[in-house]
């Protein structure tokens, strides 16, 4: 057993820090620090900088351009990226779509898509959920009918994160309605510029734009864009969603939230003293840090132990990870006092500007906090709601 980071891990951390210090543009860090939905240009600029160093796709195997890092190194890199306020890159492409393509896709699909994802040239979105198929994903109704060398797709997708910024959509479609729901699903890679696609914003509770409705009306998709075999889509989707659950424990994000929160608590005052010195606040913050520490070790266990990295353990850390992201955001609002209640949509991003603009008294360190806290209500819903995770835990681990 080695229960601590080893000296070579610490050397790697220093290497990451040095790289970020020298290569992360201040403008990008300034925007990322606020935690609004990232701009397409920022994602692409940053992906290209990372790709030049060979670091844009840490989770990929080396044969497809990954850096060959251990899971612990990837964790350290992520932690340092968050601490330096690097933009959160298009994880959908790098962490969810790419593994599906390099695991189940054809040689042509790999050659076409992987380099473009790696360099941030092509950004992806995910066409999974539908108005009638949320947690019960297998009931999806978007149809794809084979017609010669192409599929004709009709239906509607929803909750499509970053759909308005995406070039491609990995899409679950029903190719056979005569078999049981799970067996009739396939995966298609669809160009968002195809005729018949309409993308409409769904403004979220933070008054920002991140998710969309995507309408597919007789969209023609080349048959070559089918991933793997027809009817196997459900198993590919489960593979992808397991990756999503592990990724979304988001411990490096929460640790960064806590660092930001501590900074805020040193600058905000209560009863004439810095809030950080208020015992009640300090205890709440302490409890959050303790709970995050437990989760961090749970993630490190999953990362270093292949035997326990099952879908079920991923559900444990997904559930708690999502809850902690919410608690960190909520405590940040509490720390900001009155200004934690001010609506403050992204001044540089796409938003539904109902509230005009943020009050001038809101300090720069508080910008974005209220929007973040509102949007975080989604963390316990997306990627399989926490109730779905609990059912998975009960059925798979506990065999109830």
């Amino acid at each position: 057993m080695h229960l601590k980071f080893q000296p070579e891990d610490e050397r790697f951390r220093q290497e990451c820090r040095a790289f970020l210090r020298e290569n992360l543009p201040e403008e990008l860090a300034r925007r990322a620090r606020r935690g609004y939905h990232p701009l397409r240009e920022d994602i692409q600029t940053w992906m290209r900088i990372l790709n030049k160093r060979g670091w844009s796709v840490p989770n990929w195997p080396q044969e497809y351009g990954g850096p060959g890092w251990s899971p612990v190194q990837r964790f350290i890199f992520e932690e340092e990226m968050r601490a330096a306020c690097a933009p959160v890159v298009n994880l959908l492409g790098t962490e969810l779509v790419a593994p599906v393509i390099y695991t189940f896709g054809s040689a042509e699909q790999k050659a076409e898509h992987l380099p473009a994802i790696r360099n941030g040239d092509v950004l992806w979105c995910q066409g999974f959920s539908e108005p009638g198929a949320g947690s019960d994903l297998a009931s999806l109704r978007t149809r794809a009918e084979r017609n010669g060398n192409e599929y004709v797709v009709n239906g509607q997708k929803t909750w499509t994160t970053e759909g308005h910024n995406a070039d491609m959509m990995i899409t679950l479609v029903r190719t056979d309605s005569t078999v049981k729901p799970q067996a009739g699903i396939s995966v298609l890679l669809i160009d968002m510029q195809s005729p018949g696609i309409t993308v409409r914003p769904i403004y979220t509770i933070d008054e920002g734009r991140s998710v969309n409705e995507v309408f597919l009306d007789n969209v023609k998709v080349p048959a070559d864009n089918l991933v793997g075999e027809e009817g196997k889509g459900w198993s590919y989707a489960k593979f992808l969603l397991t990756n999503e659950r592990t990724a979304s424990a988001e411990v490096p994000h929460t640790k960064h939230d806590i660092l930001q929160l501590e900074e805020i608590a040193r600058q905000e005052y209560k009863d004439g003293k810095p809030l950080a010195e208020d015992p009640v606040f300090a205890r709440k913050l302490g409890q959050l840090k303790i709970d995050t520490l437990a989760l961090e070790y749970a993630v490190l266990r999953v990362l270093t132990d292949d035997s326990s990295s099952s879908a079920a353990v991923a559900s444990v850390i997904k559930t708690r990870g999502a809850e902690l992201r919410q608690r960190a955001a909520d405590l940040t609002l509490e720390a900001l006092g009155d200004y934690g209640l001010a609506a403050a949509p992204d001044p540089e991003g796409v938003h539904n500007l109902r509230s005009g603009r943020a009050p001038t008294g809101l300090p720069e360190y508080g910008l974005g906090a209220s929007a973040r806290a509102m949007y975080r209500r989604a963390t316990t819903i997306y990627g399989g709601s926490n109730e779905i995770q609990r059912t998975i835990i009960a059925k798979t681990i506990l065999q109830l």
Binding site: M1, H2, L3, K4, F5, Q6, D9, V72, P279, A282, R283, L285, G286, Q287, K289, I290, D291, L293, A294, L295, E296, Y297, A298, L300, R301, T304, D305, V313, V316, T319, R320, E387, Q389, R390, T391, I393, A394, K395, I397, L398, Q399, L400
Partner: protein
């Protein structure tokens, strides 16, 4: 990082598991806790013969070359079987002696490991509430002798100890004394704590102690006590983990057999989700135990204390949650003395408070104390 056990560690784990299966069923345990308090449990000698009493002590210190991980492995199994023999108090005393006086006390350490001597720390008092620095027992030095007066409470393992490591205020510091349990003017009042462990209150009324019985430097024992208690906390948490896992699985099995409303209870989603929450807390606790064991390796006392306190907060909270919900899901049978689940709860409840509860350790973690 690597969370895999070595082959030797797996062998140790297996041997403890086999012992518990063979010798420590719930009925075997009942016979032990029902026996008169004067009666010595025969298992201590078995622990010695199997090498467990020194398994977690380095060879330089007179042990068999393991470390805290070995002790945690033993205690996790003890937690599953609800072992009542005072293993953690033994480890805390060993830690104290090997920190403060490894050479001077080498033969005593050897005797503790072979089971012929039983030493426990008598430090905490009613006023302490988990804080190592808060004690009122005093050592008065006059005519070349120390005279100890004070009242140590809920001393774990004291019922059958032959020797106490007693702390006392000595000027501005705290000194530690090795005192024979039969010394004049010590009153030992033995009782059971909630979890059926034997504990004792010790009252010292002007007890004369020779300066040769001082352990370590005069007035400088506090840091070593804090260190030993930190080890003790992590060991109690390892034991709690075993108890939580056992209670969880026991409850799972019960839900699959208990019939109500024409079906077994495991088919109700409210109960499934409660079980999932219990599993989440248990898995996070296991993770936190590894964090706590890592913290013990730290040479910096502040880092160690923060990591150990975080561990105690986690276990104080999740242990009570898992224990209480295990009773809840059992229903009426869960609150009976004949059902093991209540005994898990009681042990988890006591562990949650021992050496400082979650409030104390959260404050220590954030530096408010």
């Amino acid at each position: 990082m690597d969370f895999q056990l070595t082959q030797e560690q797996e062998a140790l784990q297996d041997s403890v598991k086999r012992f518990c299966q063979r010798e420590y069923s719930f009925d075997d345990r009942r016979a032990i806790i029902d026996s008169p308090i004067e009666q010595l449990s025969a298992h201590w000698q078995t622990f010695a013969e199997l090498g467990w009493l020194g398994a977690g002590l380095s060879e330089e210190a007179g042990g068999f070359g393991g470390g805290p991980v070995e002790n945690a492995l033993i205690l996790e199994q003890f937690g599953k079987a609800l072992v009542v023999e005072p293993f953690t108090p033994h480890l805390v005393a060993l830690q104290l002696l090997s920190t403060l006086a490894p050479t001077e006390q080498a033969s005593l350490i050897e005797a503790m490991i072979d089971g012929s001597r039983r030493v426990v720390m008598a430090h905490f008092e009613h006023v302490s509430r988990g804080n190592c620095a808060t004690i009122e027992t005093v050592a008065d030095f006059r005519d070349d002798q120390f005279y100890l007066s004070g009242h140590k409470t809920l001393v774990q393992g004291a019922a059958h100890a032959d020797t106490f490591l007693v702390s006392a205020r000595d000027g501005d510091g705290i000194s530690l004394f090795l005192i024979d349990a039969n010394t004049a003017n010590i009153e030992r009042e033995v009782y059971h704590s909630l979890d059926n462990h034997l504990v004792a209150d010790l009252r010292f009324d002007n007890v004369a102690v020779d300066p040769r019985n001082l352990v370590g430097a005069r007035g400088e024992a506090l840091q070593a006590i804090e260190l030993a208690v930190d080890y003790g906390i992590v060991y109690l948490c390892a034991e709690a983990l075993g108890a939580m896992e056992a209670a969880l699985l026991m409850t799972r099995d019960y839900l699959k057999t208990r019939q109500q409303f024409g079906t077994t209870l495991n088919n109700f989603q409210a109960l499934q989700h409660r079980m999932a929450d219990m599993l989440i807390e248990t898995e996070l606790s296991r993770s936190m135990l590894y964090q706590g064991l890592a913290a013990l390796e730290s040479t910096d006392a502040q880092t160690r204390k923060a990591g150990v306190s975080a561990t105690k907060v986690q276990f104080s909270q999740s242990g009570i949650f898992v224990g209480a919900q295990s009773i809840q899901l059992h229903g009426g049978i869960g609150v009976t003395d004949e059902c093991a689940v209540g005994h898990y709860y009681k042990r988890l409840f006591v562990i949650a408070q021992l050496y400082g509860n979650d409030d104390y350790h959260r404050d220590r973690f954030v530096g408010l104390i």
